[in-house]
């Protein structure tokens, strides 16, 4: 579904990603881990098309199309979704208005039926139940005055409404208490199926107790320095990231299996 080849990206002239290679197939869950400043969030933002990041080399193929040639909104309509680490507040626009507009843009793109406010209300009610969000959140301005946990749940609600093929969750677990983490993780699990893929960008292993990754990739200084199965995450939890720096991690442990 997604193939990243030798991806280099910079922000303000500083190279953050220095040659990322990653292949994600349908049905897979990938975790991207790594210390602060390793480039994990940059990778997520580059996939979503954030204008502050400049891709200087490499390519990203999504469903056979060149993702990097598409504008952010085209990517979203094609089925790429990024849950923001810091969801943005949009004063004066209600959550329901925003979600219906986004939903109908995608429906129009797919030649599918657009929904009027009443029809959409039913759909929204069903999706909101997934992340245990009350109806009152739908009439409030997007993310305005939401707690950290509510904002993250709202991201997963958007994911549920837009039903993307590829979801990139950027540090969705950060700042969540244990109940919110459970709700968010269960939401992601319920939405996942054999036709979709998920990339979890996370610093901690905690989220992976709830969402089991098929593959774990460790990023350090803009490169993937180690890859393995879900047990690699546990090892990182135990040992921290320091042993992976400066390329020492390569082949440092027998217990991890390289992903394919």
């Amino acid at each position: 579904m997604l193939e990243i080849r030798d991806l280099h990206a910079s922000v303000d002239g500083n190279e953050i990603l220095k040659g990322i290679n990653l292949k994600v197939n349908k049905g897979e869950v990938h975790a991207i881990m790594g210390p602060n400043g390793s480039g994990k969030s940059t990778l997520a933002k580059v996939l979503a098309g954030h204008p502050s990041y400049e891709v200087t080399a490499g390519e990203v193929i999504f469903d056979g199309k060149n993702l990097l040639e598409m504008s952010p909104d085209e990517r979203a309509r094609e089925g790429v979704f990024m849950a923001f680490q810091y969801p943005v507040e949009i004063p004066g626009v209600s959550n329901a208005q925003f979600l219906r507009l986004a939903y109908n843009q995608k429906q129009k793109h797919n030649g599918a039926e657009e929904l009027d406010p009443l029809e959409f209300k039913d759909l929204l009610k069903e999706k909101a139940a997934l992340v245990e969000m009350e109806a009152s959140f739908m009439t409030r301005s997007v993310n305005e005055g939401f707690s950290g946990g509510e904002k993250k749940r709202n991201e997963i609600l958007q994911m549920a409404v837009l039903d993307p093929k590829l979801s990139v969750l950027d540090e969705t677990d950060s700042g969540l208490d244990i109940d919110a983490l459970r709700i968010v993780a269960e939401g992601v699990n319920k939405l996942h199926d054999g036709d979709k893929a998920v990339i979890l960008v996370t610093h901690y292993q905690r989220l992976l107790n709830y969402i089991t990754p098929d593959f774990v990739h460790v990023l350090s200084a803009g490169r993937i320095v180690k890859e393995g199965g879900k047990e690699l995450a546990l090892e990182l939890e135990e040992k921290g990231y320091d042993w992976l720096k400066n390329g020492n991690g390569k082949g440092a442990t027998a217990s991890s299996q390289a992903s394919k």
């Binding site: 979503a48 098309g49 954030h50 204008p51 504008s71 952010p72 909104d73 990517r75 979203a76 309509r77 979704f81 990024m82 923001f84 969801p87 943005v88 949009i90 004063p91 004066g92 626009v93 209600s94 329901a96 208005q97 925003f98 219906r100 507009l101 986004a102 109908n104 843009q105 995608k106 793109h109 009027d116 406010p117 009439t139 301005s141 958007q158 837009l162």
Partner: protein
Amino acid sequence: MMAPELVKETTSYATAFREATQARGSHEPAWLQSLRESSFEQFERAGFPNIKQEEWKYTNVTPIAKTNFAPVLVSNGTELTRDRGLASFIYEEARQSRLVFVNGMLRKELSSLEGIPAGVIVGDIGEALQSTQDETTIREHLEQYPYAEDSGFSVLNTALFGSGLFLKIPRGLDVKAPIHLFFFGEGEAGKTPPAVFPRVLIVAEANSAATIIESYASPDTAVYLTNAIVDLAVGDGARIQHYKIQRESTGAFHVATTRAQLGAQATYNTTTINFGAALSRHDIDVRMDHEGAECSIDGLYMVDGSQHTDTHSVIDHRQPHCTSHQLYKGILDGKSRAVFNGKVFVRHGAQQTDAQQTNKNLLLSKHARVDTKPQLEIFADDVKCTHGAAVGQLDEEELFYLESRGINPGLARNMLTYGFAGEVIERIGIESIRRELDAAVLNRLHVELKGELTT
């Protein structure tokens, strides 16, 4: 000091003033005749304001001064009827509590007072003068003006107003239905454009409550001058909610003064929405001369093309324990210009004042321009005051957030603009006004958002 050319420009007003004085003869009480005389003298001395005056630095009223307007002093004929044209301008909530003015003149046959409870005095200001009791009240208030800083426009209104409204809400009465003052302007292309001078005095006695809607509209191409004054006296413990909606044609000129005097523990909340007119100027003056008064003075101006809009507000804390909040927002497109000048005075001794003032502007075009000047002058030492102004474009992170959800950049921009206006509009307590303004904002944005944003 009077510029010589002003003499010529004011001739039609001088003629009108002479005619009006003759026509009124002895119908009007002597005190009003003399107030009109002195007001007109002041107008002749000062003329219309010019850009050398600090308060008019950014607003050039030469187009008004140079136009030969025909002052409307008596009710003039119109085809407007209850059914034709009028219905769409009246807010549902005020269907039975509406006062309709055509070219500044109160038209009883188009108005409806059934929804206004007994005890409320409401009617043409000229007729109210026939009652001794009301005359006393009117005199007491009118003779307080003009303030020293009032412009030639407001004294010209006092000299010439031929109709207007006197509204008195008796002590303790809570009027549920919003009272809608609807001003319709009708200047026809090719004819001498009319100048209209509506005058409103609202007296809310102690512990009374009411909602006032003041709206101005006109056919798309109408050319005329509105020069209005609305004075409010909000008694001790009284609560007044005041909405002013100005959506006149882009050929119209709109100059208006709103002056409010607040009693002890009085509450005055107002929201002004300004979409229309070629040139509009709104002076707001709120005086808190008694302890414990509260006001919120909010507004939104949204202009495009070559429109010019100017808001000057003065919020005067003269006694302790008063609160004022002000949020004014502006959206400018095309080559439009906006001026916001907000003065907050905290006088000597006005301790425990709580004053907040914010003016935020969104520029949608490189050619639009805003001049904003929030001013805070504090002469007391135990106060909580903040003020600020911002001028900016749409936020890139917000745009990216919307785009990352599949919304195209054009729609995303419009949605954020709509949201920017929404912060003011959503505070309006009357649903049909909110609906109208929502639609008007979307209409201004020229997009197919309409259906998309209704919920």
